[in-house]
Every structure is written in C-alpha cells, then in structure tokens.
Amino acid sequence: MATVRLHRIGKKYGGLEVIKDLDLVVEHGEFVTLVGPSGCGKTTTLRMIAGLEEITSGELYIDNYPANQIPPKDRGISMVFQSYALFPHMSVSENIAFGLKIKKYPRSDILEKIDWALSLLNLEGLATRLPKDLSGGQRQRVALARALVVEPQVLLLDEPLSNLDAKLRLKMRAELKRLHKKLGSTVIYVTHDQVEAMSLSDRVAIMHEGRLAQVGAPLAVYNSPHNIFVAGFVGSPSMNFFNGRLVRKDESLVIDLETFQLVLPERYRSKCTGCLGRKVILGIRPEHIYDKRLSKTESYLGNTTDVVIDVVEPLGDRDIVEVKKEKICFTALLEPETNAAPDQPMTVVFDMTKCHIFDMESENNIIHSP
C-alpha cells in the first residue's frame, strides 16, 4: 500500500493536449475514483499511473518515489482492464498465477496464493476453467484475483464493471467495497458512471476536458459542487438549470426567471450581494422540488409555481416527472402519492435552501465557492 501523488501531470498527443496540470493526491489505503464523461482523460490518467502511457509533463510519485521513468512492472501496481484482458489460453488458476510466475515465486507459494485468491473472490471450483467458459461476473472476479494476488501497492481499475449487466453490476459494486474494506489497499478507480463513483469511493475526482473539475468526498461534491459541470454531472436525474438575474425585492434577494421569481434564503444573502443585477444560473436538483400538496414544510411556501406535467417516468419508489412552465422545462423527483399524470396542472415547491447559484461567465458556484 502506498500513496500516489500526481503533480502537474500533463499529456500531449502530438499537439493535442488531453491532460492539463493535473494535481491529485491519493492517500494510503484510500479509494479514489476518477470520473467524467468519455474523452475527459480519466483512462489516460490511469494509464499514466500504470506506466502504459508516457507522462508528457509533471511528476508522478508512488510511495513518495518519483515514478515517471519506472517501468510498469516496478511500480507496485496492478491493473484490471475494462475488457478484463484475461489470457484466453490459460485456465483461471494459470491466469492468476501469471504475475507470480513472472516474478519467479517458488511453486509452493504460487499454489498457496492461488488458493487464497480463489477463495477471496469465491472462485473455488472454477480453477481449471478457461475464460471462455466463465460468465461475465466470473471473468471480472478472475481479473480482480489476478490483480490482487501479486499484493499490489496500488490497485488500478479501469471501468471494471461496465461490461456487466445492471443487476450484476450492483452486486459487484458491493463486493468491491467489501474487498477494499477487507484488504485496505490503495485503489484508483475509473468510471464514467457517477452513481458507481459516488457509491464506491472515499473521494471522487471529477474530470472535465483533461482537467480536474473537483475532488472531494461523494457527499461533498453532491452538496456543494464548485461549478456547473460538477453540478450537472453528479446526481441522477441531473440538476435543473435556469437562466435568471439576481435582483433585490423588498428586503430579500430574488432570482428573476422572467416567468416566475424565487426568493433566496437569508443565509445566502451575504455571498450573493456582490452579484446583484448580474445574469446567473440557478441550479436545483429534481429531488429538491416537491409537490405543494404533499410538502410539509411551511417555509418553502414562498417559492412555488404552477406548472403542467409533461412526462412521467415511474420508478416505483419515486416518479421522475418532467414539467413545463411556459417555455421553461425542468425535472422533479416526486413521491408516487402525487399521482402525477401527463398534461395535469400542479403546483411545485422549490427548496431554495438546497439551491446553487452559478456565475454565468465563470460557471463557478457563488454559494459554494472552493
């Protein structure tokens, strides 16, 4: 186990700069996820840590040693590939043994470690099978066993769950978390799925166009996204954004959305007064918009508006409801008791204590600035 430190890491392909000045510290035993849309550079970053991709600029430290020039095999890393990259001609135990065999472990040790890895990942009984005779979930576990058996200082996982079906993915997610708890190894995980990132990690590093948009604990990035990108990326369904203008009305600050106005809670006033009169973007998550009839809290009541329901997507425990207010469309996550039906009118309440206000130009969060 070790710390991994990226200091102003950059990557260029010819003239194309895909990673820019990336700074990230992964602590000993920590589970950190690099997450972002495809093409954001997360896999490239992981491959640079693994040593499969050359680092164009900046320094990488593994266990406080500069590692830029260290070949992959001496970095103390293990990597699980998106495709698993199991060797098709080797049985499960031969696959697991490969790294140990290369490192010239004595045969008795190898056999012992294979047994350990097989039981750790519940693969007993599959030792002699070939990868082609395994299910997707089993292959995935073999890939993990193969990575873990060499006792890596850092475990690198590149979208390991993306080839599994939805149900299996949930199961493996829990299994990964249990495994990390048990082994306590340093893990760097890459995924494009923000739910996976949030549920697994100690901290998530959200990447956007080759830069780190925000690093923090899952709840921290959910509750206080630093910019519009993070706000829109984290959370499902995505946050609603409204173009508006910050104005003063009587004693309080109000966001004028042209068709309706929303009053800001008092505690945000000091942070927002600087932006008075400017164009801003209001962000509010679907789960912070309620049906007025079912809302218990009186204090929201100032911030209501009448809408027409457009589309309803029932999930069972909640309904994803898309509503329209003249030209403005937004999404609310409502309780099934609302009995939302298309084309019905309803009144919604905005919980403005959970809102975010972004500067139109810089796209940074005015309320939760870093």
Partner: protein
C-alpha cells in the same frame, strides 16, 4: 406409396440445400473418391504374362527393394523436415515485420504478397537461370565478377544442380519464397486477433518481451501456426515443380511418380508411390496437430 410421398416431401423441403450441395458432392466424387479408388486399385494390381493379380502388395515390395525409391523417400523426408519449419519461420518473421504500424506498411505488405502473383514455373525458371552452371548469376557474384560484391568467395563455379544437397536447397528456397505470403497472412491474422490489452496486462504484471512472447504471443498463435504447418507441410510433401525443374537428377517422391509413369512405364508403381506419399502426409498431419497442442499446454503450465 406413403413412403414415396414422404421421400418426395423431404426432397422438396430441402431442394435448395440439395442444389447448393450438389456441385460439391459431385466434385468430391469425381475428383477425389473415384480417382483415389482407381489409384488404390492400380497400386494393388500386378499384371504379368500369366495374367492380372489382385490384390497384391507386389509393387510395394518391389519399391522397397528399389534403391532409387529409397533415396527419394529419404530426400522427401529431409525436404519436408527442412522446408516446413522454414515456411513457418519465414512467414512468422514477415508477419511480425508488417504487424507493427509504420510508415509505408501498405507498400511492404504488398511487396510481401508479390511472390504469389508470379507463376511457379516462372519462379523455378528464374532460379534455374540464377543457379546455372558454369555461368549463372550466383556463380558470377560469388566469384567476384560484379562491382557491387567484390569478394571472391569461390575460385571455380559450383555445379548447383549437379549436387543433391544444393539442388534440393535451391528447390526449398524457391518453395519457401513462393509460399511465404500465405504463411505470412495466416500468422498475421493470428497476431492481430490477440488484443492489445493482453500485452498491456502482461506488462503491468512484469513480463518482459521474451516472457510475453513465449507465454502469450506464441500460445495464442499456435492455432495459426498449426494451420500453417499442416497446410504447408502437405504442400511441401507433394512439391513437384521446383524439384522437377531444379533437381531433376535427385527425385523426390512426387517427381518419382512422374518418372515411374513416364520413364519406367509402370503406372502401377506410380500409383503405389502416390499412396505411400498420401499415407506419409496423413501421418505427418496428425503428428503436427498433436505436437502443437502439447506445445500450447506446455507453455502455459504453472
């Protein structure tokens, strides 16, 4: 009556399949089974003034006593044992060369395919002229008669076709050169089927280039290699044109068949040689197949 209707129905239902398969079935019957049957019958028949004898091993016994046949058999075995691995190795080297992406790879690939486009007889004649005696380009070059190679390797011209060793080596050279594209293409397709991820996984696990080659590339290439070896060894066993043109005095089994028929005027013996060649090919194919399977198991053992 009912049975007849059933049969007609069955034919009607499968008419399309029957039409599609008919040419292949006719081909197998006409060009394989009937000929094989005829050849076997001829090989087992001995015609003498007293009448025809069937079945008899007479020709096989005669052949086993014939020093020319024995020499040809030994030559053929050597020819195959040298030629087949060479075909594989040259094909692999060429495939590895063009597998990596580099500038002008397309041109190099096309150049490598070129030998296939030249008629075999033309290649054989070119080699005949190159290795002629006492003139011939190779002799000229080795004697230092050209400015670009001013070293006098030999003092007297070599009679390449007059020596069994050289004549067969030149034949092997021609054969391997001509067949290289096929071996290369088969190996290349095998190489490209190995995903990049596997090499990277091996790299992160600490395998160096040699270990990766022996633990991953080679075992995953064994299906392609076995295809090359089986196909090419059959071709080398029955090779005719190159030894016919370049090693006329040193017949292999395939060229001996021609000699038995034309010079000895003994079609029965020619058929017997053909059957022996066929048996050799079948045995060697089985051997190659199994030894590669063994090699594959061997390379990945814990």
């Amino acid at each position: 009556m009912e049975l007849r209707n059933k049969a007609i129905n069955l034919i009607r239902k499968n008419l399309f399949c029957i039409i599609i398969l008919a040419p292949a079935v006719l081909y197998l019957l006409g060009f394989l089974l009937i000929i094989l049957f005829k050849v076997t019958a001829l090989a087992l028949t001995h015609v003498s003034p007293e009448g025809a004898l069937f079945p008899t091993a007479f020709h096989f016994i005669q052949l086993s006593k014939n020093p020319e046949f024995r020499a040809a058999l030994v030559r053929t075995v050597w020819f195959t044992m040298i030629g087949t691995p060479l075909e594989l190795i040259i094909g692999m080297v060429a495939a590895f060369l063009v597998a990596e992406a580099f500038k002008g790879r397309g041109i190099v690939r096309s150049l490598f395919i070129l030998p296939l486009a030249i008629p075999t007889i033309v290649t054989a004649i070119i080699l005949y002229i190159m290795f002629d005696f006492p003139g011939g380009h190779i002799n000229d070059i080795l004697m230092g008669r050209h400015a670009f190679f001013p070293f006098r390797v030999i003092s007297y011209p070599v009679d390449w076709r007059g020596s069994g060793f050289f004549a067969l080596m030149v034949s092997i050279f021609g054969k391997v050169w001509r067949d290289m594209p096929i071996s290369m293409l088969i190996i290349l397709s095998g190489l490209q089927a190995i995903s990049k991820d596997q090499y990277e996984a091996a790299k992160t696990m600490g395998a160096n280039a040699w270990q990766t080659f022996f633990a991953i590339t080679l075992p995953l290439l064994t299906p392609a290699m076995s295809t090359v070896l089986v196909l090419r060894s059959i071709e080398v066993w029955k090779e005719f044109i190159f030894p016919f043109i370049l090693a006329g005095s040193y017949p292999l089994l395939a060229t001996l068949i021609e000699r038995a028929y034309h010079e000895w005027r003994n079609p029965n013996e020619a058929c017997a040689i053909a059957l022996i060649l066929l048996a050799l090919i079948i045995v060697s194919t089985i051997l190659i197949f199994h030894s590669l399977k063994w090699l594959r198991m061997r390379l990945v053992r814990i």
